[in-house]
């Protein structure tokens, strides 16, 4: 671990100032500390935000929920309102990591966790994300866990979060205290960047920008599900996951909010897939068509080829589960 300065932030603007020039925020540290030990990340200054007042979960005026960035994954998963109205989020959280990690991990930190790509973690290997221009070791290496959608010639990393996948399906927004002093709200989808030519840039956040909360819109009618497929029963990252909020009215799909984990460099949402489902009577053929659209541009790299047929199977199973018996 490289020597670093430590600053304990007392207020959001203090945090922003401290982070604007070479600082990195730390909250739960469940990912950052590991990466610092490996010197994959070597911040000059850690700005500890754990004393800031961002642990509340409050109802918004329009029936939604404002989740403070420091709310732990455990507290969020166990919140009675979340369990009742946004169960897909609770299930996604509980399918991630372990109880010990969920106790430490925060909402804001979870959104910003780094990829689990093994080549990103190994400093002897080339990695465009860790060391821009060095190449991608994973492209022709062991890439079982890596992405098939949204990749570039420079990077095939996946985003490892479960929580963010559910939030994406729920249409969550991120509240950001900009380093300049403004507070903005951004659809979660717009927080993340695809790798393109700059895989080292993962979000639109500028130095000093601090995620202060996640806003969930009011709950909607429909059934919710989070389905995660992984190599062992617990404590493993998703190979494929699907978060879904689906409603059927008059025998036709009235809502199909879908997001996917394990497939792409960011929690993946494809509006074309949802558009294809809306207004149609649920059927296997329809689900197949949705999968065709989702996976039209999917590209495997050998060891992860299986994710493409697996995603199709899981999407179809989730849609079947959420539309079955609901046609009346």
């Amino acid at each position: 671990m490289r020597p670093f300065d430590y600053h304990r932030a007392t207020a959001p603007d203090d945090a922003a100032r401290a982070a604007a020039s070479g600082g990195t925020f730390i909250a739960g540290g469940t990912n950052l500390v590991d990466l610092m030990k490996l010197e994959v990340m070597a911040p000059e200054r850690l700005v500890d935000i754990t004393r800031l007042d961002m642990r509340g979960i409050e109802e918004t005026g329009d029936g939604g929920l404002r989740i403070g960035a420091l709310v732990s994954n455990t507290d969020l998963a166990n919140d009675a309102r979340v369990r009742r109205d946004w169960p897909v989020l609770s299930r996604a959280l509980l399918s991630g990591a372990t109880q010990q990690l969920r106790n430490k991990a925060t909402t804001g930190g979870n959104l910003l966790q780094r990829t689990r790509c093994l080549y990103f973690y190994d400093r002897a290997m080339p990695c465009n994300k860790r060391e821009p221009g060095s190449g991608c070791g994973a492209m022709e290496g062991f890439n079982r866990i890596l992405a098939v959608l949204g990749t570039s010639d420079h990077c095939i990393a996946t985003h490892p979060s479960d929580m963010a996948v559910a939030m994406m399906a729920l249409g969550a927004e991120v509240e950001i205290a900009r380093a300049g002093g403004n507070t903005e709200r951004l659809p979660l989808d717009d927080l993340y960047l695809l790798p393109g030519d700059t895989p080292e840039r993962e979000t639109v956040l500028a130095p000093g920008d601090l995620i202060t909360a996640v806003i969930l819109p009011a709950p909607v009618a429909g059934r919710q599900s989070y389905r995660k497929v992984r190599d062992r029963a617990s404590y493993a990252f998703a190979l494929v996951s699907v978060a879904a909020v689906v409603a059927v009215e008059d025998g036709k799909v009235a809502r199909a909010d879908l997001a996917f984990g394990g497939l792409a460099p960011k929690p993946w949402r494809d509006k074309d897939v949802e558009a294809a489902l809306l207004g149609q009577p649920p059927s296997e053929a329809l689900f197949d068509k949705a999968a065709d659209i989702l996976l039209a541009k999917a590209q495997g790299h050998g060891a992860n080829d299986f994710k493409i047929p697996l995603a199709r199977r899981v999407l179809s199973a989730v849609l079947t589960e959420l539309t079955e018996g609901a046609a009346a």
Partner: protein, 729 residues
Amino acid sequence: MTEQFKMDAPATDRRLDGMAQGLVGAPLDRPEGPLKVSGTATYADEYRLENLAHGMLVRAPGNSGRVRLANRDAVAAMPGVLAVIHDPRLLRNPAQGTANKAPVQDANEAHYLGQPVALVVAESFEHARHAAHALKIELEGGTPRPVDPETAAIEPQSSKGLDQGDLDRAMTEAVHAVDVTYRTPSHSSAPMEPHASIAQWDGENLTLRGSYQMLKYNRNELADALGIHPDRVRILAPYVGGGFGSKLGLAPEAVAAAIAAKETGRPVSVALTRPQVFETTMRRSETRQRIRLAADAEGRLAGIGQAALVSNLPGEVFAEPVLQATHFLYAGENRRLSLDLARVHRLCAGSVRAPGEAVGITVLECAMDELAEAAGIDPVELRRRNIPEKDPESGKEFSSRRFREALDSGAEAFGWSDRPATRSRREGEWWIGYGMASAARVNVLMESRARVTLAPDGSAKVETDMTDIGTGTYAILGQIAGEMLGLPRDRVEVVLGDTDLPPASGSGGSWGAASSGTSVYVACQAIRAQLAERLGVAETELTLKDGQAVFDNRTETLAEILKGDEIAKEGHVLPGDTSKAVRQATFGAYFVEVAVNGVTGETRVRRMHGSFAAGRILNAKTARSQCLGGMIFGIGMALTEELAFDDRDGHVANHNLAEYHIPVNADVPQITVELLEERDDWASPLQAKGIGELGICGAAGAIVNAIHNATGVRVRDFPATLDKVIAGL
């Protein structure tokens, strides 16, 4: 005084059955258990010695070329750094189990990616790690090296093979024939305690606190690596947090710590990081195994073939002994067994739990399942029909073998008769299936010594350099001594893990309990003889119980008999003629129910049962725990565990516990274990055989066979991850 005992004849006297204390076999707790679960057992790297410095190994970034430290001086000048060590004596490959030597291998040449090539020593662990990251290793003049066993140069291991009868002809004439090729991947031992050593010099004498399984060998290996006399080396390893073979032989961190401690004049700790454990400690070789089975209409085997390809680094003699139990498990007069060793530049291959049988029997048992399907015979019945009367190659008798009983009793306990037809039972998305496999593992007795001292107050102490790697050695040695001397368990102290004590067999090859246990037994026999002499009775007439001697209708306490004296005896057991006269092995059977998700291909083991026979059971609890551990290892082997190598440079890609998937609690169902009563007079005077590894010797096969029963999908490439299952769904 040393009492020597050579195992030249069967021990038909079964003395333990005639003892009165009632300790041997009892399911007693491990006496060190509370220390371990409360964090108060001190492991190798936990000694906070005064002035302790910390070393971090630095790896070769490639598999070829001369090692050059590009910025050595700059790193040496970093804050907190005490030394940058690049010494030809640094171990390139860990020593193989029982090697007893560790000659200089020239650590200046890179042979595999991850090989330790330098050590940075600093004031703190953090300083050392940071400086190690900063040290730039360059490899000069490297050439492409083979890393793929399928295309690398092959060395046939003809001494391990066999060609008996005419297998080709048997296959042609067979009514039912199976000719299939399976693959198993490399595994890591992944012990919970990473490999770690603290070295401390006192003049020319070295003390090493290490995490090792076989101290008498490790001492010689460390002395050899450093070029000093073994008398100058003391190794302490009272607690070892798992080894599974990876701590049999001396590993690089011990030599590095010793060199660094000498150079800095301070005690030095070198602990491997988790990635280093995966990259530099022994791997189990991957295997490719072609199995041929030729059977008649009733499923009786006329021929067995097993042709295995394994790999190791150039120069290493260890070749995963895949064929070991295939030699004797099943009948069939036409037999062709062969083993090829490919030379590849992946990390060193060596012993990982049950080397040989863990993969060899697993694959054989999958092929037997295929034969059962082809012949339309129940898999248990197929095994029953092929139990040979005698060793099918040597013609020797089996020393003891309750194999048939394990098959029958296990099937009954599990409810095997309820096995569904292939791909017929479904619960929602899940396909349900049953599978079974046989278990077999060779049995070995090794030379071992222990000293037992009966103190004047009638308490006893057992001392040996034997290790307890989580297996229960502390428990069983105390039980044997207590049984023989008629003492309650808490009147016997057991001291282990110190090379100043009589040298034992070490923990490995499943031989530790019977070998070290016999040395304790022999010492206690000698003490009993001396007590009897004092009382003027025959030793066999002496009943010892609860600290009292009963003889000739009289009772005296041990303290009264000892009259202020102590009696100390060293027991020394040597293997003898019985190891050659008969075939000695342990046997069992596994039964498994799985659920396989029809959508995702995910497999969940629902329940698992094992019935095992391993001679006398010394402690029903620790023996059961050994079986549980093996079977859980089998779950990992069947479903998730695989060292993933990058095909381009042979490096271990998934070198952490997040991506090397050992089973977690949620993967492990209710497991039941049945230990069959057995006495093996040929194996040891305890009538005990080794049980430490029997639990994994086929377990993964039972699971993969159950996947087939559930889904109709045969996965012949371990582990049976979901992608391989859905490919056939």
